[in-house]
Amino acid sequence: MSEELDSQLSAMFDDELPQGECELLARRLSRDAVLQARWGRYAAIGAAVRGGDVRLSGVVARKVHAALSAEALEARTAPIVAARAATRAGAWRRTFAGVAVAAGVAAVSILWLHGSLSPESAPLMARTSGAAATPSAGTAASYVVPQPGEPRPTVLPASELANYVVAHSEFSTPVSRRNLLSAFMASESATAAPPPAESVADPNQHADAAP
């Protein structure tokens, strides 16, 4: 499940998803077993945190119910052709172009690999700007309702998120820290907010920061 879909589902559970998106997602929910399982887990998590029963916003419940009812009607009048996601990477392609070199004196190169190993769940793809995983055949990549000319509001300005990511990384395990900062490197930057008006450029500080 894509992160966006996961995020939408989470927002829907909290009744924070716009109505148009909610209806579309509810339709998908009605026929997607994986999504239904995820929905169930959100309910369980919510219940665990509240220490009580599973409660769902009445508005959300009505939307889901309406979508499910409509879906059932559709099912009676026309068969739903379900396309299957069938893309799965074959065997990992490994090309080893070197061998470990034990120099011994100043440095030891313990590893030289050529190429990359990608998880079985997805094929290795050359990175292109904005490239995403290939959507499954017959399945819409996103259920976001397009809103031309009106960009989706960002949760956090990019610079603020950067501050928080950096500050948080200090308290992560070394592996998590590296992953977090690496992911930040690879993240899109189009949502960058302009700097605060009171800040001024100070190129002279470059020398201060250099180690």
Binding site: E3, I110, L111, L156, T173, S176, S182
Partner: protein
């Protein structure tokens, strides 16, 4: 007869010790790996895979008498770089023509001691076991699988070099074991010495905006201090380990910074001061954002913007951020952090 029973007792004791040692072994490998990643000098290139995107990065890490210097640079993407020098971390963002510099008060080398430690309590929320050893590019590796027992956290699979304890390959997995992020080293060199020149940024910063924070210790606590904030309910196993207040680069007022961890995963919660001026285009929007496999959730509580960031599923940051509350009543519950 008596000799035989003594022999059985010895065998039983030996088996118990062996079993205990076997159970400890995977955890020891995690400790060795963390130690290697922080204490060794190394220069490596690795690929970072996440959600169908692959990015190549280089990491150069030096530990010189406890002072950590590190450079992490994107080789084929945004051109962003992180350079740490002791307690200062500079984040070069050429795509935003900005450099964020975050300095922290405290002892140099605190990085080595700030990450969470995996203990007995943590073990209740993860299943840690060693899989069959394997060879990765002709190196003997120990494979450690860390599987979460619930949906509040992610798991790991780690291929750890047997002789150096460096992780040559790591996978982050969800609760169903699906890989959601992977890092694989394509080259890795352990060096006895790395020159200062290796830690110079390649980014030309002419005309860039430099944003620094103020690392000076904060004076009398303003209205929004870390001590006033806490979390009412947390996902199982998470506990607060740090309370602090810090000023972010480019900001004027301190934010409260709370850190919660289960011993492996950690979540930071930032609570902004009410007096912070928020521009119309920066009005907080409640919702989840993602940085790789890490999640961020922002919401507003009692007029304060509360943001949780962590290497956990989106639902976990949402739960933690939403449970944060203004809590003068429990001021004495936890000592202040660093």
């Amino acid at each position: 007869m008596r000799r035989r029973s003594e022999r059985f007792a010895c065998i039983a004791f030996a088996l118990a010790v062996t079993a205990s040692a076997a159970a400890e072994e995977p955890r020891l490998w995690l400790e060795r790996m963390n130690e290697a990643l922080t204490a060794r000098n190394y220069d490596g290139v690795f690929t970072h895979w996440q959600d169908g995107k692959v990015e190549m990065l280089r990491i150069i890490h030096r530990n010189q008498n406890g002072k950590v210097t590190e450079r992490l640079a994107s080789l084929d993407g945004s051109g962003r770089e992180f350079i740490r020098t002791g307690n200062e971390l500079a984040c070069y963002l050429p795509d935003q023509r900005t450099v964020l510099v975050e300095s922290q008060s405290g002892q140099e080398g605190s990085l080595l001691a700030s990450f969470p430690s995996f203990d007995e309590k943590s073990a209740a929320f993860y299943d840690i076991k060693e899989l069959a050893p394997t060879r990765l590019n002709r190196r003997k590796t120990r494979v450690i699988a860390v599987t979460p027992r619930d949906e509040f956290r992610y798991g790991y699979r780690l291929w750890i070099d047997e002789s150096t304890a460096m992780p040559l390959k790591t996978q982050l997995c969800d609760a169903q074991g699906r890989v959601i992020e992977q890092v694989v080293f394509s080259s890795l060199t352990l060096a006895s010495h790395i020159a200062d020149a290796a830690f110079k940024p390649e980014v030309a910063t002419d005309g860039f905006l430099w944003l620094r924070n103020d690392p000076r210790p904060l004076g009398p606590e303003p209205a929004n201090t870390s001590a006033l904030w806490s979390a009412l309910k947390l996902p199982p196993g998470f506990r607060m380990t740090v309370r602090s207040a810090q000023v972010m680069p480019g900001a004027h007022d301190p934010v409260a910074h709370l850190v919660f961890t289960d011993g492996l995963a950690s979540v930071s919660v930032f609570v902004e001061s009410r007096s912070e001026v928020i521009r119309p285009d920066q009005q907080p929007v409640a919702g989840v954002a993602n940085v790789g496999s890490s999640s961020a959730f922002s919401t507003v509580i009692d007029g304060h913007k509360v943001t949780a960031v962590g290497e956990v599923p989106p639902a976990t940051v949402r739960v933690i951020a939403s449970s944060v509350t203004h809590s003068e009543a429990i001021l004495t519950a936890a000592p202040p952090g660093r």
